[in-house]
Amino acid sequence: MIPFNFAYYRPDTLKEAADIFSELQSQGKSAVYYAGGSEIISMSRTGSVHPDALIDIKSIPECGLLTVDKERLHIGSACTLSRIRESNLFALLGLACGRIADHTNQCRITLGGNLCGSIIYRETSLPLLLSDADVSLYGPQGERRIPFRSVFNIRMRLKPGEMMVQIHVPRWALSARHCHIKKTANEKIDYPLTSAAALWKDGILRIAFSGVCSYPFRSEQIESVLSDKTKTIAERVKQAAKMLPESAYAGVEGSGEYRLFLFENTLTELLEGGENAQT
């Protein structure tokens, strides 16, 4: 049971959603945008959050869109992980979606929730950081469309009252050569100790990580080091391990040292597999 009351709104348009957000804000009430809701419900139950109102965006057509045109794949923020995965439209994102939580929860968790929630791993960000994706946002100040990498820095940097509407992925990324490796302490469905997503554009490696640090990141420095074929794989991996943006994350599931060990192990696996695939 959630031990307090909140109001529930289900707008049919983006404007209605932004308007009700502004209206609630002007009344001094806290409102949150809501899609899958698993995090908001569980955190409300334990008293970690106390929203006055939820604004459910699942009935807004733009947020439920999943379609591909001549140039890009468009994914609404309220699309569930299972829907994205089953569509098989973006192979690398599908792999990432298939390793977040368990299957039943994948039918509930949305792309927007995974990216904008408070759980630090945000694993759907990895393919988006690699693929030159754009993001559409909508809020009381109107609509904007910007590169995903410019708004995702450790977490989504949204303006007050702004919601994520869609992700737009260029077609080249949808079927580009890719690799996804996730290592967990116990079950497949656990949080990652290290998760790596790799995408090759024109034969050049791009790579992003979750789990090894306290936030997901893409590092062009690490990409450059890993692509230096004048060095052995072991040398490249050791050098990459010194280039993390912060100390390896020490959490309940694994120590920093263990995550770093798995980071090196993952990179070795990826480079050996990747380079074999190239020959």
């Binding site: 049971m1 959630i2 307090f4 009351n5 909140f6 109001a7 529930y8 709104y9 289900r10 707008p11 049919d12 209605e16 009700i20 809701g37 698993s38 419900i41 569980s42 409300s44 139950r45 939820l54 459910d56 699942k58 009935s59 299972s82 298939g98 939580a101 368990d102 299957h103 039943t104 929860n105 039918c107 509930r108 079950e187 497949k188 469905i189």
Partner: protein, 161 residues
């Protein structure tokens, strides 16, 4: 725009019937099913979306009812174990395969397996079965028997055709 600002009557489609209940916007579907409608098959377990004991089927998909608000369920088709009527292949399969001990997790597993058969009318690969079953926990560790029950469910559904 749908608005629920306080406790009000909402209409839910459950097991093919329309039910009207008084619910707060913050009431969980699980609590409304159990406490207002007496549909107690869905069980409260972890209440955190981890154990799967509260699983129901919403629009053909498995859903943890502890992570869904009752107000959200308006306009959707909800199926609980009571709606299987004792005649679904998975129910006989669980008996044939001795797939329960204490029984607390059974309703949730029944719904996941039934949803699997909706999604995959023909038995999918073992890795798919494993992935779907990973959504639920059996503390009596009847996992091997539950897996056998899935295979039996598909045998029984084939016999029916």
């Amino acid at each position: 725009m749908l608005r629920h600002e306080r406790k009000a009557v909402i209409s839910l489609q459950i097991n093919g019937e329309t039910h009207e209940v008084m619910a707060r916007p913050s009431d969980l579907l699980l609590d409304v099913l159990r406490e207002q409608l007496g549909l107690t098959a869905a069980k409260p377990g972890c209440l955190n979306g981890d154990c799967g004991a509260c699983t129901v089927i919403v629009d053909g998909r498995p859903m943890k009812s502890c992570l869904m608000l009752a107000v959200e369920a308006q306009g959707h088709e909800i199926l609980t174990v009571e709606g299987l009527g004792g005649t679904a292949p998975i129910q006989k399969a669980f008996i044939d395969a001795d797939a329960f001990q204490c029984g607390y997790c059974t309703s949730g597993f029944l719904m996941v397996c039934h949803a699997m058969m909706i999604r995959y009318p023909v038995m999918p690969e073992e890795c798919v079965i494993e992935e779907w079953l990973q959504s639920n926990i059996c503390r009596c560790t009847s996992y091997q028997e539950i897996r056998r029950a899935v295979r039996r469910m598909y045998e029984l559904s084939t016999d029916r055709r």
